[in-house]
C-alpha cells in the first residue's frame, strides 16, 4: 500500500517536471507497435496489429470502428486488464515514459485508477450491488491515498457533487439499484476521476443511455476534461459523439489503425476509404427516404486476415497494388492514413 503511493509520488513528480513550453508537448501516452493476440486451442489468434498512437496531456481522442475492430481490447490493454493467461501483448505502452507493458503487476496496480482510470458501457455491472456508491467511490480513493474513512466519505461526496449529482450527501449512502442509468454512469465517472488521473479511458460510456442523458454525460466528460486537464480516450462507434466530444479521431479497422486525424478535418475530408464509408453510412447525411450508403461485405475474420490492405475486399477504390502491405502514410503533419492511394483519392466526408 505505502509502496504503491511512493511509486505514484515518483511518477507524479517526474510528470510535473515535464517542460510544457512550445512545439508539441511530450506525449502523455505513446503506444508503439502494440499487437495483441489471444491463445486459442488452434494457436495464437492475432487481434490487433502494430497499433501506434500518442495522446497529449489533456487531449480528447475518439477511438472509432465497427464491432470487432479491436478498439475495446486496445483500451483494456492500456490498463493491462486483459486476462494474462490468454492475452499476449507485444509492443510498448509508454505512459509518461514508463512502459506499462512490462510493469510488474504490483506497480501496475498503482497506476490503475490513480494515473489511468476507465469507465465502461454498462455501469450496473461495473458497480457492486451490495455496497453503497459512497463506499465504492471512497474505496477507489483509499486504495491510493492513506486517508481515514470519514475523509474518504467527504471526498466521495465532493466527487458526486463534481459530476452533478443532486443531494450528494444522501446519494452517497444509496445503493446502485436506487439510481437511474444516467446517475450510475455519473457515479462511475466520479469514481474514475476521484484520484485525478491524467488519462481516462471511456469505453462506450453512453451507448446504454438515452440520447437526452447521453448529451448530459458527454457534456460532463468534456467539461471535466477541460477543467481538470484529464486526457480522454473515448471508445465509441458513434461518430456524432466523437464530433461533439473529441479533438482527434482514430479509426480502427480489422485490428489496425487506418486513420488518425483532427476531428474537424476527418469529418470534412476523410483520407481512408473506410472512414469515408462509415461517415457516408450515417442516415442523417443521406437524402430523406433516399437509398442509404453502406459498406458491402463484412470484416474479415481474425483467423483469415488478407495480406496487404485489410479493407481491400470491401473497398470501392481498390486497385492492383492494394494487396501490398500498407504502412501509415503521413498526409499532413497531424494526419496519417493507412492507404497508399490516400494522397490522390478525394473521398466524401460528412459534409456535401
Amino acid at each position: 500500500m505505502t509502496d504503491a503511493i511512493d511509486i505514484f509520488a515518483a511518477t507524479a513528480s517526474r510528470a510535473a517536471s515535464t517542460p510544457h513550453v512550445g512545439g508539441s508537448p511530450r506525449p502523455l501516452l505513446e503506444v508503439r507497435d502494440l499487437s495483441l493476440s489471444f491463445a486459442t486451442a488452434n494457436g495464437a489468434l492475432p487481434i490487433t496489429r502494430n497499433v501506434n498512437f500518442t495522446i497529449a496531456p489533456g487531449e480528447r481522442v475518439g477511438l472509432v470502428g465497427e464491432s470487432g475492430c479491436g478498439k475495446t481490447v486496445t483500451g483494456l490493454s492500456l490498463l493491462r486488464l486483459l486476462p494474462p493467461q490468454s492475452a499476449r501483448i507485444q509492443g510498448d505502452i509508454l505512459f509518461n515514459g514508463t512502459n506499462l507493458a512490462t510493469l510488474s503487476p504490483r506497480r501496475m496496480r498503482a497506476v490503475r485508477g490513480r494515473e489511468i482510470a476507465m469507465i465502461f458501457q454498462e455501469p450496473m455491472s461495473a458497480l457492486d450491488p451490495v455496497f453503497t456508491v459512497g463506499d465504492q467511490i471512497s474505496e477507489a480513493y483509499r486504495v491510493h491515498f492513506p486517508v481515514s474513512r470519514p475523509e474518504g466519505r467527504e471526498r466521495a461526496i465532493a466527487a458526486l457533487r463534481e459530476v452533478g449529482i443532486p443531494a450528494p450527501e444522501r446519494r452517497c449512502d444509496e445503493y446502485p439499484h436506487q439510481l437511474s442509468g444516467g446517475m450510475r454512469q455519473r457515479v462511475m465517472i466520479a469514481m474514475a476521476l476521484i484520484c485525478k488521473p491524467k488519462l481516462l479511458v471511456a469505453d462506450e460510456p453512453t451507448t446504454a443511455l438515452d440520447v437526452t442523458v447521453q448529451a448530459q454525460i458527454t457534456d460532463l466528460l468534456r467539461s471535466l476534461s477541460e477543467r481538470t486537464g484529464t486526457a480522454l480516450i473515448f471508445i465509441t462507434h458513434d461518430l456524432g459523439v466523437v464530433a461533439e466530444t473529441c479533438t482527434r479521431m482514430i479509426t480502427m479497422y480489422a485490428g489496425e489503425v487506418v486513420e488518425d486525424a483532427p476531428v474537424d478535418d476527418v469529418l470534412t475530408r476523410p483520407r481512408h476509404p473506410y472512414t469515408s464509408g462509415l461517415l457516408r453510412s450515417l442516415p442523417g447525411l443521406s437524402k430523406r427516404r433516399g437509398v442509404l450508403a453502406s459498406i458491402p461485405g463484412r470484416v474479415p475474420s481474425p483467423s483469415a486476415m488478407p495480406a496487404g490492405c485489410r479493407f481491400r475486399s470491401r473497398c470501392t477504390h481498390a486497385v492492383a497494388g492494394c494487396e501490398q502491405s500498407q504502412p501509415m502514410i503521413e498526409i499532413e503533419s497531424d494526419r496519417t492514413a493507412r492507404c497508399w492511394r490516400a494522397p490522390e483519392l478525394v473521398l466524401p466526408g460528412a459534409v456535401n
Binding site: 464530433a243 469529418l267 447525411l285
Partner: protein, 342 residues
C-alpha cells in the same frame, strides 16, 4: 394476399383508440402505466415512426399493436376489426397480417434450428403447403432478402448479425403480412450495414405494399425512413405529424429537446449549438407527474402545466401536439431565454 387487401376503412390499417396498458408492480400495490391514453391511426402503405426514450412505452405499444399484449382499456383496430373480438381460429388467421420483428436478431432465432426451418415455421403453423413447397417458398424469400440459398441449411451462429436480421425479415415475409412492426430492428447492427438493412426494408415496402410501424430511439434512422413520426413520453404521445415537419419544425418542447440532443457528426464550424440539455431523466411510470407529464423536465413549464392535462389537439392540419402553449409556429419559448429577453 387475403381478400381484405382492398378493403380500406376510414380508421386506417391500424387505429388506436384511448389505449391504456397497465401492469401491476411486483408487490401488487401499484400499477405501471406503460401506455396511458394514446390515440392515433396508421395509414395503409406508410412508414409510421415512433421515437422516445426508454421507459416511454414504445416497446409495449409495438407489442400491443400486433396483439401480443391485450389493451387494459381502449382498443386497437386492425383495418376496422378489433382482434380481441375474434374467435381463436379467426384470430389466428387474422394475425398473420400483423407481424413484428424484434431488436435482437440472436434472441429471435432458435439456435438449434437451421435457418430454413426457422423461416418456414410460420407456414407450418399456418398449415400451408407441403414440406417441399414450403422449402421452395422459404428459399425464395431468403434470396429476396439477400441471402444465398447456401445459408438455408446453416445455423444462426454461423451468420453475422446483419444476416440474422435478414433471416428474421424473411421469416415474417413468408406470411405476406400487411403490417410489420419493427422494434429497434437496426439498433444491434453496425453502422456500416445498417444502411443495407434499411434499404431492404424500403425495397420490400415498395414491392409488397407493406405498412411499417418503425419503433426506435435513433432519430436519424426514424427521420430517414418515416412518412410520419409520433413522439412518445411516459406512456403518452407528445407530438404526431409528417416526418419532415416533426424533424425540421417540432412543435412540442420535448421533441425539440430530444432532437437537439442527437449528436451530429459535423465539423465544429458547421455545428449550430442549439442543444437543449434536459435536466434529469424520465420519471417513473408508476407515479407520472400530474398535468403534463413532461413538465418536470420542460424548459417552458408554466403553472397551468401542473394542473391540467394538455389536450391532444391539431395545431396544423395533420400535425397534433399535446402542449398547452405550442402553436403552429413552434413550441413555447424557453423560460430562461424569455426571462433574459425581458
Amino acid at each position: 394476399m387475403s381478400s381484405a387487401q382492398n378493403h380500406t376503412s376510414d380508421s386506417g390499417i391500424l387505429a388506436v383508440r384511448d389505449l391504456r396498458i397497465l401492469f401491476p408492480t411486483r408487490d401488487g400495490r401499484d400499477t405501471v402505466k406503460a401506455i396511458d391514453g394514446m390515440d392515433f391511426e396508421v395509414r395503409a402503405g406508410e412508414t409510421f415512426g415512433i421515437i422516445g426514450e426508454s421507459g416511454s412505452g414504445k416497446t409495449t405499444l409495438g407489442r400491443a399493436l400486433v396483439s401480443l399484449l391485450p389493451p387494459t382499456h381502449g382498443k386497437i383496430l386492425h383495418d376496422g376489426t378489433d382482434p380481441v373480438t375474434l374467435g381463436t381460429g379467426a384470430f389466428r388467421k387474422h394475425r398473420r397480417d400483423y407481424q413484428i420483428i424484434f431488436q435482437d436478431p440472436n434472441a429471435a432465432l432458435n439456435p438449434r434450428m437451421t435457418i430454413i426451418d426457422s423461416v418456414v415455421e410460420p407456414l407450418e403453423i399456418m398449415g400451408q403447403g407441403d414440406n417441399a413447397s414450403r422449402r421452395r417458398r422459404g428459399i425464395e424469400v431468403l434470396e429476396r432478402v439477400g441471402l444465398a440459398a447456401e445459408a438455408a441449411d446453416r445455423y444462426p451462429h454461423q451468420l453475422s448479425g446483419g444476416q440474422k436480421q435478414r433471416v428474421n425479415i424473411a421469416r415474417v415475409l413468408t406470411l405476406r403480412p400487411k403490417v410489420i412492426v419493427c422494434d429497434e430492428v437496426v439498433a444491434a447492427l453496425d453502422v456500416s450495414i445498417r444502411g443495407d438493412v434499411l434499404n431492404l426494408f424500403a425495397d420490400l415496402q415498395r414491392e409488397f405494399g407493406l405498412t411499417y410501424v418503425f419503433i426506435t430511439h435513433d432519430i436519424s434512422v426514424v427521420s430517414h425512413i418515416s412518412d410520419r413520426i409520433a413522439v412518445t413520453y411516459l406512456g403518452k404521445l407528445m407530438e404526431l405529424g409528417p416526418a419532415e415537419d416533426v424533424v425540421e419544425h417540432p412543435l412540442h418542447p420535448y421533441t425539440r429537446a430530444l432532437l437537439s440532443a442527437e449528436p451530429v457528426p459535423l465539423p465544429s464550424h458547421l455545428r449550430v449549438d442549439r442543444r437543449i440539455i434536459l435536466e434529469g431523466e424520465i420519471p417513473s411510470p408508476v407515479a407520472p407527474p400530474s398535468g403534463c407529464r413532461f413538465r418536470t423536465r420542460c424548459p417552458s413549464v408554466q403553472p397551468r402545466c401542473t394542473e391540467e392535462v394538455p389536450a391532444w389537439r391539431d395545431v396544423k392540419p395533420g400535425h397534433r401536439v399535446a402542449c398547452h402553449f405550442a402553436t403552429a409556429d413552434g413550441p413555447p419559448p424557453d423560460n430562461q431565454k424569455a426571462q433574459r429577453a425581458s
